[in-house]
């Protein structure tokens, strides 16, 4: 194994050291969490006005919703280089991990070409750019990818799955208006006695509530709680580690309910001192 610098070694240890072999929250408990989450949110959903009104809670919106600092509906999303940087940079990091001989520039260019070929929102936007504008996007994506590649010693891990897309979870079931969207840049996979277990690795500023949220959503969707979440902030070098247990997921449920209740009040134009959600029934039996 290539010797690591001090910070990279600290990140590797944060991911692997003292890691449990199996999740401390089992499948049954995850199911119970799912039930409690739905039960707490259903009263709020019953008050939603009109068809097509969706409440989205993601890792960007969660902190402001918990602080109750949002002042109104969000602006429509528009692509720009900083927003595209991760969507293009992370697949490039995945390419570098799979194919060490591929250079950073080629990896990012491959991401761009792939996005254009997919012809989804990002690809359509990229296709409209002229050469200098696309070069600006490439410059930021390359920087993001280099930053991400150096922040974590990816080559130290045998199995890594990189995912730029969000994990979607509808707590009230398919077709219902509330959506929780988690982000995990990568999942480090380890083999436990009962199968493949995973550690969520995210790049960005530390926020314990966001880490809890991501662990909850990923666990509910996959039916298997992650062992640990690790958040590495390239700009500061900070490393935030949380082993995923019942308390953590319980708290994540509480925070999600609070945040969704607040957002739903904003989205429907009603401000209320009460969340409208049943937050009493959140304890374990």
């Amino acid at each position: 194994m290539t010797e690591l610098g001090a910070h990279q070694a600290a990140v590797r240890d944060a991911v692997l050291e003292g890691l449990a072999l199996t999740p401390s929250v089992g499948t049954f408990e995850l199911g119970q969490l799912k039930i409690r989450l739905a039960r707490s949110l259903r009263p709020r959903a019953a008050g939603q006005d009109g068809p097509g009104v969706e409440i989205h809670l993601d890792s960007f919106r969660l902190p402001t919703a918990l602080r109750r600092s949002e002042t109104g509906p969000r602006e429509a999303f528009e692509w720009n280089a900083p927003r595209a940087a991760r969507s293009l940079g992370l697949p490039a990091v995945a390419t570098l991990w799979r194919n060490p001989g591929v250079g950073l520039g080629s990896a990012v260019e491959g991401s761009v070409q792939s996005a254009v070929s997919d012809a989804k929102s990002l690809g359509l936007w990229l296709a409209e750019l002229d050469s200098p504008e696309r070069a600006m996007v490439v410059a930021q994506a390359r920087s993001w990818a280099a930053r991400a590649w150096l922040a974590v010693p990816w080559s130290s891990f045998e199995r890594v799955q990189f995912r730029a897309d969000a994990v979607w979870f509808r707590p009230l079931g398919p077709g219902t208006p509330m959506v929780m969207r988690a982000r995990r840049d990568a999942t480090v996979r380890t083999r436990g006695p009962r199968g493949v277990e995973h550690v969520l690795v995210t790049l960005g500023p530390p926020d314990p509530s966001v880490a809890r949220f991501n662990a909850l959503v990923v666990g509910l969707v996959s039916g298997r709680a992650p062992l640990r979440t690790v958040v590495v902030d390239p700009s500061s070098g900070s490393i935030e580690v949380a082993d995923v247990g019942a308390d953590l997921l319980h708290r994540a449920v509480e925070e999600a309910v609070r945040a969704i209740s607040w957002i739903s009040g904003l989205e429907t134009g009603r401000s209320s001192g009460r969340s409208g959600a049943n937050t009493d029934d959140l304890g374990w039996d």
């Binding site: 010797e3 900083p82 520039g105 200098p132 504008e133 700009s235």
Partner: protein, 326 residues
């Protein structure tokens, strides 16, 4: 210190540090420096109950160490319209990014830069450029032309192995977040290694050479040391106007000087943030200080040095004192 433009191939070698001995990676140094600054931050007496952290960046550090009263005066005046120098510098950040990834520059970069700024997520810059009068626009254009005309010929395409990062954000929290050091360095290449210093940090400047530039380099070296637990290999400045690259190998002395400077700055900024009376330190920038009219020490300093009072100077962080002044 080399003062001649550097040919592209030589520039790659200089950035790689070819022929230079890389210092050993010293995690203990990073630990000592962090401890020193944590002590400075703890001693600064920032009140956690006020929920107002002390934010230190390159400009506030420089300004508070030049003269506290000047810093307070500028803050009281509030932000003015950005100067041509400042706007040109921001435009050159975008232009440099294009050159760094091998893109051909448009014949007239300023004509397309508003659109580029929007793509780059720099909406404020785009708006500021759109609001320029024809005369102001020409002033910015002249600086951009001077800086960019030879850039594409001088700046090399760095190899993939350089792991080039542009506009690299650097952030360090001390005292549990009560003191925040933050910066953004134009270019970082290389990587921290296990046994030897690895990264090179370059501040790309569109202005003329200033004494403060080496202090800025030390600031970035310090932030890098704290965030990666190891000092970088080299740090310095690339001057767009003449293609000169000034780099210094980072050693313990450089980091120590930077840490002492930052510690002093933290103490001063914390004191000012708590409402203490600002110290007055007459200096070469007094003629352009918004507080000059009410500052006896400043006026005496200006008179003693025989500098004529002129119309108010629109001072900002990119002020360039006359040659030889500090």
């Amino acid at each position: 210190m080399k003062s001649e433009p550097v040919a592209p191939s030589d520039l790659v070698d200089r950035i790689r540090g070819l022929g230079l001995e890389r210092p050993q990676a010293d995690e203990a140094l990073a630990g000592r420096v962090r401890a020193q600054l944590e002590e400075a931050a703890g001693s600064a007496g920032v009140d956690p109950l006020t929920d107002a952290s002390v934010r230190v960046n390159k400009s506030s550090l420089r300004d508070v160490l030049i003269c506290e009263s000047r810093l307070v005066a500028f803050r009281a005046r509030g932000s003015s319209r950005p100067s041509a120098n400042l706007l040109a510098g921001k435009v050159m950040d975008l232009v440099f990014a294009l050159v760094a990834v091998g893109e051909r520059l448009p014949a007239d970069p300023l004509a397309t830069v508003s659109r580029l700024a929007r793509v780059a997520g720099e909406q404020t810059l785009a708006a500021e450029l759109d609001a320029l009068s024809p005369g102001e626009r020409q002033e910015v254009a002249d600086i951009v032309t001077a800086c960019s005309s030879s850039l594409a010929d001088r700046w090399p395409l760095l190899p993939d192995s350089a792991m080039m990062r542009l506009q690299e954000p650097l952030r360090v929290e001390l005292a549990g977040g009560l003191v925040v050091l933050s910066g953004r360095v134009d270019l970082v290449v290389g990587r921290p290694a296990a046994d030897r210093a690895g990264a090179t940090l370059v501040d790309v400047k569109s202005g003329h050479r200033r004494h403060d530039d080496t202090l800025d380099a030390g600031w970035y070296a310090l932030l890098e040391t704290l965030r990666h637990r190891a000092a970088p290999f080299q740090v310095g400045t690339y001057y767009l106007r003449d293609g000169v690259l000034d780099l210094a190998v980072v050693d313990e002395e450089l980091i120590g000087r930077a840490a002492a400077r930052v510690g002093d700055g933290i103490a001063r900024l914390a004191r000012l943030g708590a409402g203490s009376i600002a110290d007055v330190t007459p200096n070469g920038l007094c003629p352009w200080c918004p507080a000059l009219d009410a500052c006896d020490a400043g006026r005496r300093h200006v008179e003693e040095r025989g500098i004529a009072f002129g119309p108010g100077y629109d001072a900002d962080e990119d002020d360039e004192p006359p040659e030889g002044e500090v």
